[in-house]
Chain length 343, copies 2
């Protein structure tokens, strides 16, 4: 027992993978100490959502989010660390139901890092911010000694204004579940790139706030989430347990490109378990599902949208996957050794 | 020339020290790429202030700031990394003239880090937030592999509401310069602790927003800054060049404890060149200076406040120090090899 306890006292890589172990670490070693202290908020750290919401007035919430970005390789088909840092934070705001207003950028660099590379990453941040029309308004820079950080790390925080929150915990029994496109593209891009695996896969990385804006014009949207770390499996599990509903989805309805599916089979990686960076999972009242689908498909980023399942009163907190041969299995959040530094 | 150019292409520790080299790096490799892209703000990254301001309505600004915190040792007399992360960001908001409303916390940990230590740091963050009545509302956690980060790094972003901005660039000729207490306590604590130097010095780390609130009730405050990285020397130089005024200060008026002064002499470190974490530098119209001084001294954190000098029309962008023997010299921002990881 002594040994088990000792191991348990040190942080493991698994505890950063976005799955159950991470939630357990947060619930044991961080949240009890910081949550609910210092003031009241409408949606805070306890909810483990993509961001927090603070009521500004009768009609509006201020939504705040933060994310530290590390990825290797830092440049990959479809994007780079700078684009990831900006799009990732815009997306966290968007799926909370907020209109993103501004971003901050906290850069931590290792001594000896290439200025050329820093400039390329900065340029990509600026370009992504410009295209998205969400400015980077403030920043911070720290330079650490060799070996004190690995290259570069970017924390992007953001805030936006929402008149209707779409929290992770908003699902109701009977709601339909929609995904805005193919699953696993970003994660598979990073993995195949690292493995020098020949492929035409590229990251789906993109700001989704304009896509989401169209969705929010339809009534009846109850919940949204961006399936990043841990992929669709992690996102749906968090939505099911946060909302206290079951979720039943059909494998054959979930869009996955042939390239991602093929690479996943070769490498033994389930596309539902790895990150997306330009996709949204949406919960919507049944009678409005087709309209949300239409709004999504009207936008380039949402052209492959599909209704993939619905919420149930039974199996609370669980995600049930109907496989392509019609059998049922529980889709758990990823628990294996994570693929590190993917987003 | 080849060699010089090569060296110039890599980031150096000096470029993270808060002095001229850092401003040059920001102006060359980061700001041109990100500033002013994506939207308009009233006070953005270009101003290199403690935060950004975005107009919300006729009366109010939203103020946003971000800071990545690393310090070694992580526990020191008077505080620890957790307290630093929360107080530091509250202070950046306060000196912008904002009432701090909420914080985010982005934690990056190295595999193998002690959970015990994580819990102690989290507890300190929670306690500091509670005492300050500024809640931590959202967070992010990343676990990196061994050697990919050194222990733990915390990014704290924050936002607040201001009805009167007090930017770094707000000084006018004739304004008086006030400091809210003794200089160099935090920096000297970290240095003496590292050197195992016997001393009773402790960090001044504290949220200053309540102290600042009293100051803002007096009319005529034009500028504020917290003298952190690079100490008073860096803060005054940024204020002088940002405001396009000269600043003349008297050495004998600047409060420094005998312990900090003594340790500084032993170690060859100028207390004006190292970080403070619970102090404010204030610019105020001459006729209101005494009232600001009174407001400061009414608060425990401001009891040692002093008027240390004034702004001039000549020597624009420079800080002139009158020494204790009456001679004048230019007080430059620190340019030497930095004391790393002090805040």
């Amino acid at each position: 027992m002594g040994v088990v306890q000792k191991l348990d006292e040190k942080i493991t890589l698994e505890e950063g993978a976005g799955g159950e172990e991470m939630i357990n670490l947060l619930k044991k070693s961080i949240l009890p100490f910081i949550e609910g202290r210092g003031g009241n908020v409408d949606l805070g750290v306890r909810e483990l959502d993509d961001g927090a919401a603070i009521r500004l007035n009768e009609r509006e919430y201020l939504v705040v989010t933060t994310d530290s970005h590390v990825v290797k390789p830092r440049f990959f088909p479809g994007g780079d660390l700078g684009k990831l840092a900006v799009a990732g934070t815009i997306n966290d705001l968007a799926v909370m139901g907020a209109n993103p207003k501004a971003l901050s950028s906290g850069v931590v660099i290792e001594e000896g890092f290439d200025k050329d590379e820093l400039e390329k990453i900065s340029e990509s941040m600026g370009q992504t911010a410009e295209e998205a029309k969400v400015p980077i308004v403030t920043g911070d820079l720290k330079v650490l000694g060799r070996g004190e950080t690995d290259g570069i790390l970017i924390n992007t925080s953001g805030f936006g204004i929402s008149s209707k929150l779409t929290p992770t915990s908003g699902l109701k029994p009977g709601n339909k579940i929609i995904v805005s496109g193919t699953m696993g593209d970003h994660g598979m891009t990073i993995v195949t790139n690292r493995e020098n695996f020949e492929s035409s896969i590229k990251s789906d990385i993109a700001p989704v706030h304009n896509l989401v804006r169209g969705v929010l014009e339809v009534d009846g949207v109850t919940a949204m989430k961006d399936p990043t770390r841990g992929g669709l499996a992690a996102a749906l599990n968090e939505m099911a347990s946060g909302s206290e509903v079951g979720i039943k989805i059909k494998r054959e309805k979930i869009p996955v490109t042939p390239e991602v599916r093929g690479a996943g089979e070769m490498l033994g990686i389930d596309p539902l378990m790895i990150a997306n960076e330009g996709k949204v999972v949406i919960g919507v009242e049944e009678f409005q599902a087709e309209q949300v689908l239409e709004a999504l498909r009207d936008h380039e980023l949402g052209k492959d949208s599909e209704i993939i399942g619905e919420c149930t009163q039974n199996n609370v907190g669980k995600v049930i996957l109907e496989t392509e041969i019609g059998s049922l299995r529980i889709l758990k959040p990823p628990r294996r050794k994570p693929i590190p530094r993917i987003c």
